[in-house]
Symmetry: C3
């Protein structure tokens, strides 16, 4: 056997970052890197398209998202899948009084995989369990649901860290500094969960008092015995970090404009900070950004957020090959 990781437990759906274990992540990162090599030639890209050219994907995105939508759509195209999309329920049968269960069951009649982003908490899990009881239990990918989960963002973040640290010992033992609106950013929650799988990792949470992490995350990290520090001292935190994960204020979740009352100015990464960062420090951001991350930093070699974004597309390609059970054609191509 050329690749022991092919023995990983294969997921049926992708619903939560908590479903991944370390063997899966190790295999997944290796798979993604292998897939990216196919991008270098027309022949490689045509081989990727041949993998799932007979399949169809539905992009059900009723929560606005350009970036994640395009990333998944491009990933679908790369593996050859045809796509259809729902962006707006106002043109749909839901207007005619159909339940969401029936709508999704209808979509499952036509396609082979459903990628869902919805403002409704728990909808992906619900639909996955409904479809599992039918004769067409197509895989569901949670592409971000309301304020809770965004598992594919966590996968691309871990992949970016893994690649960035590949020559300096990997993620284990590193210090990751997360900055910003840590209270409401679901990417912070999902990434922290995956970091618990890397022994010795230390997390610095740097945020204004009003945006500190929530108790559930605190409890989870303590249970997993992950070292973490909560601080309002931005400069100290970034100076000691191996990676800085910037986030923007999630004011779309404001109840009554409370974000405006928070002074965010001390949690913005500026060009002037570059000199205090470690030489190998990795600067990340899930994007879109506002002024918390100065565009003057873009050209610094430590700025990895544009690469991180493109990694998002490739990790989603990898994820689809796993869910549709063709990843072994990449890791063990036929002779």
């Amino acid at each position: 056997m050329r690749n022991k990781h092919l023995n990983i437990v294969r997921p049926k759906h992708i619903l939560s970052a908590s479903q991944f274990d370390r063997p899966f992540l190790d295999y997944f990162n290796q798979l993604t890197t292998t897939i990216r090599r196919f991008d270098k030639t027309k022949e490689g890209l045509m081989y990727l398209q041949s993998l799932l050219c007979h399949k169809r994907a539905m992009l059900y995105f009723t929560q606005p998202s350009t970036r994640t939508f395009l990333s998944f759509q491009s990933a679908s195209q790369i593996v050859g899948m045809k796509t259809s999309e729902i962006r707006d329920t106002s043109t749909s049968s839901e207007r005619k009084g159909e339940t969401i269960d029936d709508s999704l069951r209808t979509f499952s009649s036509y396609v082979d995989i459903i990628i869902m982003r919805s403002p409704v908490r728990g909808l992906c899990d619900h639909i996955a369990s409904i479809l599992d009881q039918t004769d067409r239990p197509v895989p569901i990918i949670n592409a971000g649901s309301g304020p809770d989960e965004h598992p594919t963002q966590a996968l691309l973040d871990i992949y970016t860290l893994d690649r960035s640290f590949k020559n300096i010992g990997g993620i284990e033992g590193k210090t990751i500094c997360m900055v910003g609106d840590l209270k409401r950013g679901r990417t912070v929650r999902s990434l922290s969960r995956l970091l618990t799988l890397y022994p010795g990792t230390k997390i610095l949470f740097a945020s204004p008092e009003a945006f500190k992490i929530e108790d559930d995350l605190r409890t989870m990290l303590r249970t997993k015995k992950v070292e973490f520090i909560e601080t309002t001292e931005f400069k100290d935190a970034i100076a000691s970090a191996d990676a800085i994960y910037m986030t923007r204020i999630q004011d779309e979740y404001d109840v009554s404009g409370e974000s405006k009352a928070v002074d965010y100015s001390n949690f913005c990464l500026k060009e002037s900070h570059l000199k205090i960062l470690k030489d190998h420090c990795v600067i990340m951001h899930p994007l879109p950004r506002r002024d918390e991350l100065d565009s003057k930093i873009d050209n610094d070699p430590r700025a990895k957020y544009w690469r991180q974004e493109r990694n998002g597309m490739w990790t989603r390609v990898a994820l689809m090959t796993v869910l549709m059970d063709v990843d072994r054609n990449i890791m063990l191509p036929e002779l």
Copy 2:
């Protein structure tokens, strides 16, 4: 000759259920069943894609419809056609004062087939006749136009009946019970018309007094000498039926909310009714449904509406192969 049905009259456009005759339906059902076999393997699906991979389809859907849209889009993808779409005239040249004739002629410049769903009665026929006078007379498929015609729904309904009755003598001589808003449901009208092509078929129309069928349908059935009964006794009707065709209230055609005044409660199929149905009874519904069809029935083996929906996609695949003249490559594949 291996298949006598290849001598059917080939339609140029699909505009109305009344254009089909019995030889066409028999051939068409056989073609659809043959095509579905290609769904079982990657090679089969790739063969279907190869049939029309050099063609482009336009989906012109200015009347909201998720189900029919996705069904046609998936069918187009299955035969390899690339698609483009118009969902909303507000982004179109019509805003710049272009006539609908010019808009559709423009679309015909770019594509090889146009699939139309419009709230405007008679628009498909009009556009088909306009295009027939140009040097690019591309085929038009009526995918549901206003309150009058929905020929592809009728085709998929007939196909579902034909398959369901294949071991008990076919559609001829069976009793079909249509339930609900029979006054405004265009599927009822189109399906009834096709049922006249099957001698001995009997139709039971079960509806509230306010939603009885209209005179034009009554006259048509009498002219064709089809036996039919109009009743308000729901239980008696479904108990004697070989197939039950449920429909929802079409309140989108209400002038002033008149549907609210109608008591529909006695025309809902519930789990408790299952015991009075015939063992071979076929339960159908064009979907979307509301409470006229209890979701608890979904798991009963007589419930065929989810299969019916998926049949819709495959009958549309078949229809495109006929219109684009590649169906003989399915019935008589090259050696």
Copy 3:
């Protein structure tokens, strides 16, 4: 060497009609004609699809346009490119406070070419220069930006003229009459610029006083020593023209409904005018039209506007092959 034109300067982006020179146009017209021959067979169309089947195109159309959008989308499909689209910034990350620079840089992460139509003057040039500074400098095509440039419309207009005059000596020395809203029609401005590359060409500008050409165009033509006449005498102008280029009132650029005050009735081409036109006169219109061009003219053999529209798709196919550097596979196909 079979084709000397393969030595043309290859553009990196398509931003303005002013970037084309005569050798490029001559090569481009020949390329388009060659490509159209591939439309005659399934094999030819499959060959075109094979050229860029490993590439992805983004259609960024935030200014409403059905015709140009579909033309580019179909062209992308013809060369095998997968497409994604932005039609409406309201579903995009711009709502989350992202800059347009970041949005476009994101799109460039996922695709291989970006086709842009925006109401913002100069946006295409700006984005092209931003992307040129990154490690993914994908080509930009200006598909019409605000009131200024529409270079691909100019290319298709020149191609249509070139083909129409191919048996009577080409474009050089011909009299082209442009009619209508010459003040605000960007197609008039772009086409005039390209006509300066054909020695001896004479332009008649026939318009109401209120819609005369602007000083910048006047100055440009004088600098290039192109003969032109401005007139309000519609009949005299069209009678002496080798080609008539009709345009509609561009009232979408009205500040306060000023178009309504202009009498356009004397600048409408009617069936009754056909008898005064030259036998070889070419009637063009960028479409959509209103009543300035009577649909009764459509069947006259001199009416070329529907062909012109379809030429638009083919010239865009040609343009993509040039930008993506596969045009030599058409002009010099591998043996």
